[in-house]
Amino acid sequence: MQLSRREFIKSSIAASTAGVVGLPVSRLAAAAAAELEKDWKWDKAVCRFCGTGCGIQIATHQGRIVATKGDPDAPVNRGLNCIKGYFNGKIMYGKDRLTQPLMRLKDGKFDKKGQFVPVTWEQAFDEMERQFRKTYAAQGPNGVAMFGSGQWTIHEGYAMNKLFKAGFRSNNLDPNARNCMASAVAAFYSVFGTDEPAGNYDDIEYTDTMVLWGANMAEMHPILWSRITDRRLAHANCRVVNLTTFRNMSSDIADLEIVFKPNTDLAIQNYIAREIIARDAVNKPFVEKNCVFATGPYDIGYGMRATDKYAYPAEKDTQAKEVKVKLDKWEAIAQRRKEGDVVEQKNTADPARHWMISFEDFKQGVEPYTLDFVAELAKGDPDESLDIFKNKLRQLADLYIDPKRKVVSFWTMGFNQHQRGTWVNEQCYMNHLLLGKQSMPGNGAFSLTGQPSACGTAREVGTFSHRLPADRLIPNPQHRAETEGYWKIPAKTLNPKVGSFYAKILRDLEDGSVKWAWVQVNNPWHTHPNANHWIRAAREQDNFIIVSEAYPGISAKVADLILPSAMIYEKWGGYGNAERRTQQWRQQVPPPGQARGDLWQTLEFAKRFKLKDFWGAQKVPGLKADGFADNTLPDVMADAQKLGYSPEDSLYKALFATPENLKVKWPDAVAKGHDNHIATLLGDGWFPEKAFWIEYQQFGKGKGKDLADFDVYHADKVRGLKWPVVNGKEVAWRFNEQYDPYVTKGAGIEFYGKLFKAIPTGNLDGVTDPAPKSLAGKAKIFFRPYAAPAEQPDASYNLWLCTGRVLEHWHSGTMTRRVPELHRAVPAAVMWIHPTDAEARGLKRNDLVWIESRRGKVKVRVETGGRNKMVKGTVYVPFFDEGVFINRVTLDTTCPISKESDYKKCAVKVYKA
């Protein structure tokens, strides 16, 4: 009986699978599928994991998820799922799921040195509020902070952004997405004047050349990888290039594999640009009509603290590079300076400033990047001959330049988590723009993302310390005024001072300038580099840390208060993926125990405060802006009263349950019988997710960021829509008249982004005419030089360490590692090392070793084979495993422009444990 049922289920699943793949299904198997699923309720949803944004179908039965499948109608994944997708239905049911608020108590009272004890929501909010008021009274808006997330739903991010910026008047809210794609954003802003890619995933099927720069897509974006391998196998002329610092799974199908040294991607791209010019292959009509040339300062530091006050003794020599850099031979040539020159880093305060230059200047900038120079600098595998490497670089340039070829460049963390992340992103556009291969089907530089809503929530909603919704910026008075208008709050409520970025919030906790911090949907103490500092700051300083979590990870462990969160399908939500596709889903199952959606937590906390607590004058040290008294936010209460507010109004009433929003009623027919635990718990008859959507839609309307109505995303036939959605139609390729209604009629291509489109003029060495000159409608082609990594292997720390993900685990593993058997059975993270490097240290496979940097050390097992083939001199350790807490070892340098951390390069030593 058991066996036959099993066979029955198998043939049913085989039938569904064959249907997706396009193979014929037998009538018997189809009947089995129908019988098995007869009591199930299927609904569409989005995968919880990476930035690809695969559609999935979820089957529920009696309040539980019983099956999931790739959504055959989803254009992203066409019915397929990767192994992480397999966990979507399981992650909610782990053994140590948090289901009750937990607080550190001693003798029944909060105590930082106490043990976690279950408490009620009421007790949790009471202490949270008490601690918040204490800090806010002493330190004002600068003293509190929020670690947000690229895994927040759009609605959650929107609400918290509003609570912090409009309610608390604090811009100390920054997402973990800072460490994932801030460099991509900075380059989108500087090059195009608007965030997010021009193209979409269909570029894969339109192109004949795909170049992967620091993106191991075979492991990190498997579904897109399937589309790439399908394209490659079906088209003999198609070529795939994998640029990487060690041999990985993406090399398996690559026609060309280029292994380079860390940071030398900067030089390789300039080599390609130099070749484009030398071969007279610049697409002159495209460049003259659509582009200008630009550059900026080189001496911008490495995003570390300017002082060594907090550095451990061993760290001081690396930290010193923030102040002064002695040029090595390569940097000297690359930057047209002298070897050994000591360069003071004078532009750390404003590293993003840039100016227009001439084509002749640009040409002079890339002139040193000859094949000989770049090959010698960049060759990453000591066992490869220089001639072979040169030949590979030449082939790469050939592929880009061939006028008959379409080219798509893909990248993720290799570019973004980079001490010159913004530069290297800009360089990728540089080559596509020089060739005119941009914003057309099958042609374009395509920045992929790592998190499911890094685009949809972090970027589009603007949950960063310097952003507001839909490409608006905190320092821009007009953008603040527009936001205050949409939010119906008094002028000058918003704080004009940019808040602390992610790394800085951690540094603020260390030096005591932030004393109250809340974390939602991310795990800062596990995932931020140089973790020993931040763990000590959290546990040993006088501060209060709240972590909203579903499972106990490292951040929950260092917290003072843990709030149990509802997980993805236990709430309504929406994500935006890497191709501008916005997708929404309904609550499928109820959250367990006392777990509650993050949105509910935010709204309940807002009920505890009144307008008079924040909208009076506030001290903000360092605030300096037109129309504001120095160091002060004005009292806006009188203006608020004119708008109909009372000082006694709660933030919940003033910002969220507004008269307009209360008109958006729950229950709503769009739910089709699905519940909404947040609307039910609030109990005042409104539908917060839908109300926030309507509010949020206003920000992008008519601004190139138009979104469709809430119900449209929930319609049966819709599988997400790529914004801007204009007159009900999505936009496939931005900036291209054929597809994008925002382009002026007859313009063909128009880079209409509005930010940073008036800049000074100068040459490679600096500004010559400070008067801003307009470049409306155009993109910038940047010259950016090679810069050496801040820390490189030396006699004491003689190996490079690179970190990242592995296929079957995701980020810090708090979800994928909680499925009980998996937690036990999957081996802990290993360190991949070249067999010769292992042998030289007397090590063999499976040996336990210490891996140690200037900052810390962890124990890990040696792996000399398997999926990653290291080059001599480099080791790789994934970061998912809290048992191999590799971020104790990593270096917290950032791209100085984007403030995104570089996890890909620091110096370590390895020895037997």
Partner: protein, 104 residues
């Protein structure tokens, strides 16, 4: 019981050989193959989640397999996971603090 439906891709000339190596993996059954498209449809059955993941990794690591993608996952009878969460969690008494959160 965990059962997954998986689509496996290979070059057309390897379909037959990949089908043979797939069948040799414990818990794997080949249900359909299309030589021209280089696609195979298999099911993978495993008693635990980790065995399921291991089996999937083994499929992916087979010679000539260029991609393996999951299509459907069924886990109705995965009682250990589904029932790991106690039914009554609304009172503080039912809650235990996970070991990971205890200071040792």
């Amino acid at each position: 019981m965990n059962i997954s439906g998986i689509s496996v891709s290979t070059r057309p000339e390897w379909v037959e050989s990949v089908a043979q190596s797939l069948s040799a993996i414990k818990g794997v059954e080949v249900h359909a193959a299309d030589v021209r498209a280089g696609k195979l449809v298999v099911t993978l059955e495993a008693p635990t989640v980790s065995a399921e993941v291991e089996g999937f990794k083994r499929i992916r690591a087979l010679p000539h397999v260029v991609a393996a993608d999951l299509v459907q996952h069924y886990f109705e009878e995965d009682g250990e996971i589904i029932h790991a969460i106690p039914d009554d969690l609304d009172t503080l008494e039912g809650v235990s603090v996970p070991d990971a959160l205890k200071d040792h």
